[in-house]
Symmetry: C2
Subunit: 338 residues, 2 copies
Amino acid sequence: MKVTDLQTPALLVDAAALEHNLATMAAALPGPRLRPHVKAHKTTELARRQAAYGHRAFTCATIREVEGMVAAGLSDDLLLANEVLDARRLGALADRARITVAVDSPETVEAAAAGGLREVLVDVDVGLPRCGCAPGDAGRIADLARSKGLEVRGVMGYEGHLMLVADAGQRRTMTADCMALLSRAAADVGGEVVSAGGTGTYADNTVATEIQAGSYALMDTAYGAVGLPFRPALSVLGTVISASPPSSAVQPPWVVADVGLKSLGMDHGNPTVPGATVWFCSDEHVTFAPDEPRSVKVGDRVRVLPAHVDPTVALHAALHLVDGDTVVETWPVDLRGW
Amino acid sequence: MKVTDLQTPALLVDAAALEHNLATMAAALPGPRLRPHVKAHKTTELARRQAAYGHRAFTCATIREVEGMVAAGLSDDLLLANEVLDARRLGALADRARITVAVDSPETVEAAAAGGLREVLVDVDVGLPRCGCAPGDAGRIADLARSKGLEVRGVMGYEGHLMLVADAGQRRTMTADCMALLSRAAADVGGEVVSAGGTGTYADNTVATEIQAGSYALMDTAYGAVGLPFRPALSVLGTVISASPPSSAVQPPWVVADVGLKSLGMDHGNPTVPGATVWFCSDEHVTFAPDEPRSVKVGDRVRVLPAHVDPTVALHAALHLVDGDTVVETWPVDLRGW
């Protein structure tokens, strides 16, 4: 099948860029040093490629992601790196998969035990105002978990506020400061796992025993400023459906493609169209002005680069792996929803 | 079923607010004066309620929406108010439904004819830089369509740039200016239909024979500034999964709920949490500071109001119609995708 045969909008993944990204990361963080985060692609076929590169343990953000990974047989070691107050759906899988959940409070410990889970990590606040207990409370949370019969594998802490720090030296220093907090908590908690990091700090974080990077596989344009060795692999294919009337009072000439804010993650702002300036997105449209007026015609195909990969993928039912103009494979985005 | 029994995040629609909105609009624009836009809710069960209020003709933004409406039997008169370059999937439904498509160029006329469609509207640029031919070209496009054997039902033109003009007098004047352009095109094109308007201008647009409003049913918070008689009906239910450590250097105290940018349309910015200040959203989290510190506890449920309704709905597989704490009905969001 050719790319031009696809119904638009359609999610495209450049096969060569994906392969480059997976190989580059596997060389830097081989096997269990990387616990790929599936939230970035929500696609078990892509996770299967990551497993083929030697990473058999995965990170998930939702219960649905854990369930889908188990259904796909990628169940060696699944971490739900998130807090849940109702763990019953996870507990129901405990005989078929190794599932570990993050806890950061008495309530989440209680939920893990009540839901029938066996293993937890203590989630520690290392500076991002989101989940995680105070570093000084981690030992107490671990003791509580053990008192409920849970195995405590160690700690996790996500330095998410550092992912886009552009200066490498500053990023490394700040990461070290965050990880000093996590190390202190790890000493109190015990266990072997120190899980942390992401695509932005994968090379800086030398404390974590495993890095939870996800974006590296498909790559956000925003990471371009950080100087990482990964390539943008994701785009949304659109068809140009309209061109501005020559008589329009609004100039320069613009065109409209059928890729809108229902097929693009918009939290990081407008997408990019190479060779053009994007004006705005509507539900099913992007209006943009080509640098070369009238160079883009009705019926042309365009590749739109979303500003944020993760939520873009979540809007599509399938992604198409492409090599130039050829569709190599089509994979269901099967980990959507909750 | 109770709201507290729902897995979170979950999309909630307040049944009373929805009923109020549908009744208010049906009183203002009875029967065929309104052609409800299904892109705002993507839910055939909700469209069925609109049909029960007397609106039997609908507006769609995607081929998938048209297909789903036909499958649901809501096929009396479906307008795809958008340009397509491949109309074959629509043409395949032509024996089961009345389907009209927008055209604004020789290419889109050709696609409509080649795809097996029978009826079109000429889409006219009335000032929003998106689709539509120049008003002075509409007659020529209509002639071309007729020469291809297509029935030309009239014109459409969307004054989308005026929807959020807050001053009612100014909005009315600007709407009249746009509709003067559309009227001139309508005179050249012929046919009976002048389709235009939206929730923001439904009471101002006195030229259109039918108004394409969609947002009125569930209502965006952004429309609050425009002084419309419709009520916000949509929220995303979340569970508070974490609270900030008392010792945190970041103050005031914050909490985290499991409603993030994968369950919220983010193009209009952050959501609102009543009684709190939202700091930021991550993929599966919203971090917010309650006005009353420590008033919100881990395990509490919260209702998060998205800034933009349409793309929020597109992220969910189902919506739950609720009356207070009771789930009255659960409807599949069955018009998603393309």
